[in-house]
């Protein structure tokens, strides 16, 4: 069993704070959309929580953006490359077929290449497109009067609401898949533990470079 350090402390703290915020935003958002839901009692509490958790999420996103830009991980971990397209097919085949046949995961994470091609595509899309989009539409909602000219330029309140809700559904679907995929490590909780402790335990005696199995590695692995 090899232990590979994948996630730095700031990223782990950010991840769990962000997870809590998204969890609260989805619950409060659901109550706003379906007022009968009893999650937070009075409707106005849900409104208040959704608004201020949204502002916290803006802070959280800014932290992430600054961190990945300055650490260089946006380029190394999130940007898709041409070889990732082929890898994505292989990865999808593994999840749909290979996993049931006892096949080996074609991707082994490393500090230089933490995410498999499917993760890259999902995280990049969510963090670079959908998160800013839902945050911007949410900020416009936070003071309808103040932002009225921008809302009108966008097409009006109904368009703004439609966009925010569409992005919310995308987030919800992404979260459902993300949570399930987190159970697809070598044990059900392997990926979750990695996100808490920072180390991913990998099967096999040697550490490998991030990427497809069988490549040589130069990275420092802690065994």
């Amino acid at each position: 069993m090899t232990r590979v350090k994948l996630y730095t402390l700031p990223i782990r703290i950010w991840h769990w704070i962000n997870a809590l915020l998204i969890f609260l935003l989805i619950l409060t958002g659901a109550q706003l959309r379906v007022p009968g839901l009893p999650f937070f009692g009075h409707y106005s509490k849900a409104v208040w929580l959704h608004k201020y958790m949204g502002f916290c999420m803006v802070g959280s996103f800014i932290f992430w953006l600054v961190y990945v830009l300055f650490s260089g991980s946006l380029r190394s971990h999130y940007l898709m490359r041409i070889r990732d397209v082929r890898g994505m097919v292989r990865q999808a085949m593994f999840y749909m077929y290979g996993i049931f046949r006892g096949g080996i995961n074609p991707f082994v994470p490393s500090p230089e290449n933490k995410f498999n091609p499917m993760q890259k595509m999902a995280y990049f899309t969510v963090m670079v497109f959908f998160t800013p989009a839902i945050l911007v539409t949410g900020i416009l909602f936070s003071d309808i009067l103040y932002f009225a000219p921008y809302i009108n330029a966008l097409g009006g309140l109904r368009i703004l609401d439609a966009l925010h809700v569409v992005f919310a559904y995308i987030f919800l679907l992404y979260l459902a898949i993300h949570l399930y995929m987190a159970t697809l490590g070598h044990t059900i909780l392997a990926h979750t533990k990695a996100m808490i402790l920072g180390y991913e335990e990998e099967e096999g005696g040697e550490s490998t470079e991030g990427g497809e199995v069988g490549r040589e590695t130069e990275e420092e692995a802690i065994t």
Partner: protein, 569 residues
């Protein structure tokens, strides 16, 4: 210009050119006239006189030598002031025989101190309503002479001259403050500078005092027709100068005079003056009870009635032309605000306070037993701001004698569907352009006069912000007619299925959220019914697709889990 000079005649030896020049330059008809100093030898009391640069002889031009005749001609002011004289000749002062000198100090024009009040100090203005405001805010000429220009100038003072952002005033950037924007400004001031700010109004009328008429301007000139004070400017707020145009109706209330009584609700129903004004006593509730006993019996046990807080006429103006059902949300709020002045700050707990007060009236929450409805109106967004379509505008664009209700309800089922509403809207937009849109509000349509006590009011957001809100079963399209507003029932899905651009400003409550009945319609009805259900789905497709995808993802995950368990992976 006549020059005063003292020259000796030129030498006779000068050639003819010099003589001609001399004559042109120095010789005038007044040559040889007297100097003022000569007059002052006898008339010492006129020493230091000032009337422009004129000398005594310019006006008293029949004095050619001294000593002059005992009786001189009266100087003719119109020689110089012909234009003023022409205006004055039509005035009441002229008709009464007042001469210029009765107001003007001819010999000491700079020391004039006679104003209207010099003669009219004791005018009672008996027939002028709200004398305190009229007499302190207006100059005499504002009513008693034709005005050449008039304007309401408004500025707001805030302690410390704190700045207010442009976006908090002119939200649409058209350099015009309309009713909606002004209600937001007031809300902003209430929330940020409660009790410390002051709205100052100046009613500036420019007129010629010589044109004073025998009859004052009728009330309609200002309060209905707006021939006077028909423009307004918001000059500054706090420490910032804006100088924005503003809707004059915001600062000068519409109040019909007695002459237009027949256009009022009471007048139209045949109530004559003597029915209410049975004596010289002030009208009391006892007079209203004669016709409105049932309403009053309900009202007298309400909080207002029990505390004797408000008489009928405190809220209802019996001489008002518009009936209550023709008032929009802001006009209705204005009635309550006459006593409940701090309504904005007392609702600071309410998110988006200004927005709520723009689309709701007080009774929407404070009269739980009243029937509330969602009302749609056609409105326009122009450089003058946003305003509802008036009867005159509708009349101008529709064919003569149009039956609007029939034009709207094409299938005759007495309810306007979104398809019918869209078709009519497009017809109007062909004439009025893209600035036309559909606005909406939630107002009381059947008043229950028991306006409630504190604690007995609607404070649950979900009473409105829910797909089950009661007004979804009571929706009307309000069309302005000559006799008042026409309320045409609207099908409950009208808003959600309207193309976005028609009603882009409509706030969202619960109507655009998918309901069980929508699902039933989609699943159970026949082909035609399903086609209609799909057409009326509007933005509810977001929930529908979202829900379908969520179910799909759940099924896929479940399948994956089952396969993992079966293959023990």
């Amino acid at each position: 210009m006549i020059f005063w000079y003292n020259h000796a005649f030129g030498a006779p030896s000068m050639n003819w050119v010099y003589i001609l020049l001399y004559l042109l330059i120095f010789v005038s008809p007044a040559a040889g006239a007297l100097k003022s100093e000569d007059c002052l030898d006898c008339h010492e009391n006129y020493k230091g006189y000032v009337h422009g640069s004129l000398s005594c002889g310019d006006c008293h031009n029949d004095v050619t030598e001294l000593p002059h005749k005992d009786k001189l001609k009266k100087p003719a002011c119109e020689t110089c002031h012909a234009e003023t004289q022409s205006v004055y000749s039509k005035s009441i002062h002229e008709k009464k025989g007042l001469e210029c000198r009765e107001c003007h100090s001819v010999h000491y024009i700079k020391k004039e101190n006679r104003y209207c009040a010099s003669c009219h100090a004791d005018i009672a203005h008996k027939n002028l309503p709200v004398k305190g405001i009229h007499l302190t805010r207006l100059q005499c000429v504002a009513c008693h002479a034709p005005v050449t220009s008039s304007q309401i100038e408004v500025n707001v003072t805030i302690p410390g001259n704190k700045a207010v952002g442009r976006l908090d005033i002119d939200r649409d950037g058209n350099r015009m403050v309309d009713a909606k924007e002004w209600s937001f400004v007031q809300a902003f001031l209430e929330q940020n500078y409660k009790g410390a700010y002051k709205i100052n109004k100046k009613f500036i009328a420019k007129s010629d005092v010589h044109a004073i008429t025998d009859k004052p301007a009728p009330c309609d000139d200002c309060h209905i027709d707006r021939k006077r004070f028909g423009t307004a400017r918001l000059t500054s707020i706090g420490g910032t100068v804006y100088d924005l145009r503003a809707d004059p109706k915001l600062f000068l209330e519409e109040i019909p005079p007695i002459a237009r009584y027949k256009e009022t609700v009471h007048g139209k129903r045949g109530v004559i003056c003597a029915d209410c004004h049975v004596s010289n006593e002030k009208i009391t509730d006892a007079v209203c009870i004669n016709c409105h006993r049932d309403l009053f019996n309900l009202y007298k046990y309400s909080e207002h009635g029990k505390k004797d807080a408000a008489r009928c006429t405190d809220c209802h103006n019996p001489h008002r032309i518009k009936s209550y059902k023709d008032l929009d949300a802001q006009e209705r709020v204005a009635i309550c605000a006459r006593c409940h002045k701090k309504y904005m700050s007392s609702h600071a707990w309410l998110p988006n306070t200004a927005l709520h007060f723009h689309y709701l009236e007080c009774g929407t929450c404070h009269s739980p037993e009243s029937q509330k409805s969602m009302l749609f109106t056609f409105a326009r967004r122009t450089s003058q701001g946003e305003s509802g379509l008036t009867y005159e505008e509708m009349k101008r664009i529709l064919p003569p004698d149009s039956d609007v209700a029939r034009m709207l309800d094409r299938n005759g089922d007495r309810v306007v569907s979104s398809v019918e509403l869209s078709a009519f809207f497009l017809k109007l937009r062909e004439k009025l352009g893209k600035q036309l849109y559909i606005d909406g509000s939630i107002l009381v349509t059947k008043v229950y006069h028991n306006f409630t006590a504190t604690g007995h009011r609607e404070k649950e957001c979900t009473a409105c912000h829910s797909k089950d809100a009661p007004f979804y079963t009571s929706m009307f399209l309000v069309i302005p007619e000559e006799a008042g507003n026409l309320y045409i029932p609207v099908k409950d899905t009208a808003l959600s299925s309207l193309p976005i651009a028609f009603a882009m400003d409509m706030t969202l409550l619960g109507e655009e959220k998918l309901r069980a009945q929508d699902m039933r319609k989609l699943l159970r009805t026949g082909t035609e019914g399903r086609r209609l259900a799909i057409a009326e789905l509007g933005l509810k497709w977001i929930d529908l697709v979202g829900l379908a995808l969520a179910i799909l993802v759940f099924c896929l995950v479940l399948l994956h889990v089952v396969l993992r368990v079966l293959t023990r992976r």
